[in-house]
Amino acid sequence: MERSPVIELKHITKRFGNNIANDDVSMEVYEGEILALLGENGSGKTTLMNALAGIYYPEDGQIFVRGREVNIHSPRTAFDLGIGMIHQHFKLVDVLTAVENIILGLNEKSRYDLKAAAARITEICDRYGFHVDPFQKIYTMSVSQKQTVEIVKVLFRGADLLILDEPTAVLTPQETEKLFNVLRNMKADGKSIIIITHKLNEVLEISDRVAILRKGKYICEIKTSEASVQQLTDAMVGHAVTLNIDRPVPVDPKDKIIVEHLTIRNSDGVAKLKDISFTARTGEILGIAGISGNGQKELLEGIAGLQKIESGSIRFVDDNGKETELVGMDPRKITDMGVTLSFVPEDRLGMGLVGNMNLGENMMLRTFRHSGGPFIDRKEPFHLAKRVIESLEVVTPSVKTAVRKLSGGNVQKVLVGREISSSPTVLLTAYAVRGLDINSSYLIYDLVNQQKKQGVAVVYVGEDLDVLLELCDRILVLCDGQVSAILDARKTDKQQVGLLMTKLGGEAANE
């Protein structure tokens, strides 16, 4: 049967200054299908989708909706054409309720009737099998709830093409499964869905067709039923990649950081960490698993001296076996002992990098203390920046480009690259591969492994359980700020870790 496309993109080109984000991209989407859009970081997936959603306006090219050429110059036009996008960073107003967010921007002439809108929201939720409390304020919601509100928002506007930008990046495996069920229901309802994701197993699970972008160019499309992870990766990266994370057996592990009965409260007095005890050893990767916001950030910042510690002790063991108490120590002294922290927050720029500074200057933020005299050494950080660009394949016009102009993944490579370059003894890293494509992710895993081989004690906070299970030697599972379990990564599985993340001790959930 000849199907007609719902959306057709023809020769789309979009530039940001000298950066070409999309270069002559043509593709189409059909009714009732789930299309996965795949590509490395900075390959222009989000930009392309933003052009469809009316956020960016392409310099060149045409867009056809149901055969008719359209000009999407604002998000409003996109809505009117039935295109709805769920952005990676949710576009919700925190202090408003779900229903207020959902009716935002809808036909201004109609009456202000929240009750009627709430009833329609419930109806939509029932139809596709999810749940939202219309009168809950956004800032009290979990990430998964916020995402649901976003999905309801576009459905409420009668969208029949949904674009989801990395929807699973912040979800637990259980939440992801729920989301996929909703997506399948929508597909059965005749809606078209474009999903951007880096997780190839998810691509294979949910999509019907895969479109691949590389460096802003459209490479090819593959039917999911005929695709394999290896094939997709190769097409995405442009050359063959090995997809094994090696895990050398730790050589002569010695205790490096000993944490005992650590309790940390946030500024509201809520205990973020309760009575945590563990040991990080040299030449070993300790993985930390947990739903985001369960104390990972506080734990790493606590060790780095950036959090006020209520009780407990953190001891650093030097090469001679001498123990030093880190609690109450100046963060700078802790850094000087070789404890480095690279935390990649959701917005990627929030910690450690200054968006308006260029790559070299951001390197300088770490190196400036080492140069003597009143003047800073500008040469060395720029060399360092060049080395990071080369070794991590950062896509950037030059070292003098402001970091905020790079795509998310590249920003992250700069951050992680800088932290590793200071040859630490303890490497604390959180979400190092958050939102990174597969190729860059593997580069980061390799870097972490190199550090491990050099005898660095690595604490790796991650989101992707598959990776944690392959990369780490031991996994500490956090649940609600407490240690749910410390597992041998070689002898556990995803199911067990998933349960431990949601229920303390995990056993109760098995009943």
Binding site: S74, R76, K91, V93, V95, L96, G105, E108, Y139, K405
Partner: protein, 331 residues
Amino acid sequence: MFDFFVSLIPRAVSQGIPLMFGAVGETVTEKSGNLNLGTAGIMYVGGICGVIGAFLYETGVGPENMNGFLAILIPLACCLAGSFLMGLLYCFLTVTLRANQNVTGLAMTTFGVGFGNFFGGSLIKLSGADVASIALSRTSQFFSTKLPFADKLGWFGKVFLNYSFLAYTAVAMAIIASVLIFHTKLGLQLRAVGESPATADAAGINVTRYKYVATCVGAMISGLGGLYYVMDYASGVWTNDAFGDRGWLAIALVIFTIWRPIHSIWASILFGGLYILHIFIPSGTNLAVKEIYKMAPYVVTIIVLIITSLRNKRENQPPASLGLSYFREDR
């Protein structure tokens, strides 16, 4: 004690009305995410534009031949036009050209005060008065016309009815603004623009239009405060710099009322009362004591800031994108 309040409240109210206009206007502006520190200047411009209009009319036709309707309409229209232009200028600089809001606001305050003093000085020269002020007593009479039956109702009349139409307009503005912001779709979209313009934009709201309209309307409301001050409170007498720091007090009031215009009704009267409290406090010849009492409104604002920050409730925080300019393709 009762008599004390009966004599204090009317004076507190007439002190508070300019602040009420300023605060309501500034709240409407800030809800769109524009932190307009030019309010002090805008109120000044509103005042002087009203004075210019009144002066031209009063000297043009002569005080005896003035028509009451025109005597009010002309200064009112001039005031609104002047403050509207100030709002427009602010928007053009901060929304269209994306200039820094703080710098723009401060520059506009300096400009507004200078503008007022320049034309004030010119008018004083033109009128050929021996003192450094212009008196538009006839126009002021029209502006300060009170309800005719106010005097007959004893203390009730004195406290509640003894004001001119602009005073009631201020209260009405506060109520209307409050209903609009919190109970209509329009207000919902406005709040969304001020909280997160990117969200509002993605939802199909014209962010630029909302910012322009809210800021210009806000400026016009603020401007009326200046007009009320000259025409009613100061009985039509314009003296350079007499308006003082009321504009800043209005901005402090916005924080004090945690961005809820309805609260500005009582809060501005309270501020008005605190502002003139020193007159009622017997302090003898020691002027320093009076100066201490004059600090009262600011001290109260600081205390409120501390309390609201401590409670840290999300609803009581300023609009999240206050002071930031928005550009859709910004990364």
